[in-house]
Symmetry: C2
Subunit: 149 residues, 2 copies
């Protein structure tokens, strides 16, 4: 993907990422460090939980969902970080062997009034599994660099 | 901390966690896998960025912020996962060597109407650095098990 800047994003534009398969090892490895709850790290305890088996940490689904977007290169040239996200929803469990991908849609774009080198993008995200079911949705704000003339 | 259930949480109650120091290695290690943007993985490129140096991925601050809460044991007995979070705000950069801790306050609690074994807690979180500055805030919903009689 060619380098993109704030000015190149169009409202309503959609991007679909390639996928990543989330293995049991990746789920446990992440959760041991960042979210060591029994249903994320202990396959036996997870069977007895309300999820009926091991599921990925929602923090991992969130980070991985965005990682796949970075892979497309859409933010490579313009990313200046994010002030925040809204409406994170974990809609379905992510289980070992599930293959996730992310779809995004540009919802709003607002040039900065005080800093002419940047603008704010509001983007909606859907993280989906191999059956096309939404496993997570969220909205994120992105500070994006403008093209220098 | 003794095992706690939905019924034990009181609105307005606050919990303060112990801290974790986020080293440069931890920042780069996380970001290489989950958020490989130059200002998270490349100390030299980060100097040229709008942050003026390496900063932690916001996904890492978010996960670590909650990890420190898990360490207190407050959710050990009752956690049944989360349907979502709202109003994530990354307020200040987290830099190598910063020591973070989390403070939480119980905002709302709602027993489930359909499932008598659980209720929903709404909790506000502040992740703070060693100067007591908020680096991140968010609100999370938690499905919590009720005490069985």
């Amino acid at each position: 993907m060619a380098d993109r800047y704030f000015d190149d994003f169009e409202i309503g534009e959609r991007v679909v990422t390639p996928g990543i398969t989330l293995t049991e090892s990746l789920i446990i490895d992440f959760a041991m460090r960042y979210d060591p709850q029994p249903f994320h790290i202990d396959a036996e305890a997870a069977k007895q939980s309300n999820y009926g088996g091991l599921i990925a940490s929602g923090f991992q689904t969130f980070a991985l969902g965005f990682r796949m977007v970075l892979e497309t290169g859409v933010f490579r040239a313009c990313s200046m970080g994010s002030p925040g996200c809204d409406e994170l929803r974990w809609l379905r469990p992510v289980r070992p062997g599930d293959t996730l991908h992310t779809e995004l849609e540009v919802a709003e774009k607002t040039p900065s009034r005080s800093k002419p080198d940047r603008g704010m993008l509001k983007i909606k995200y859907w993280v989906k599994n191999q059956r096309g079911e939404d496993v997570m949705t969220f909205t994120s704000m992105h500070m994006a660099r403008r093209k220098t003339q």
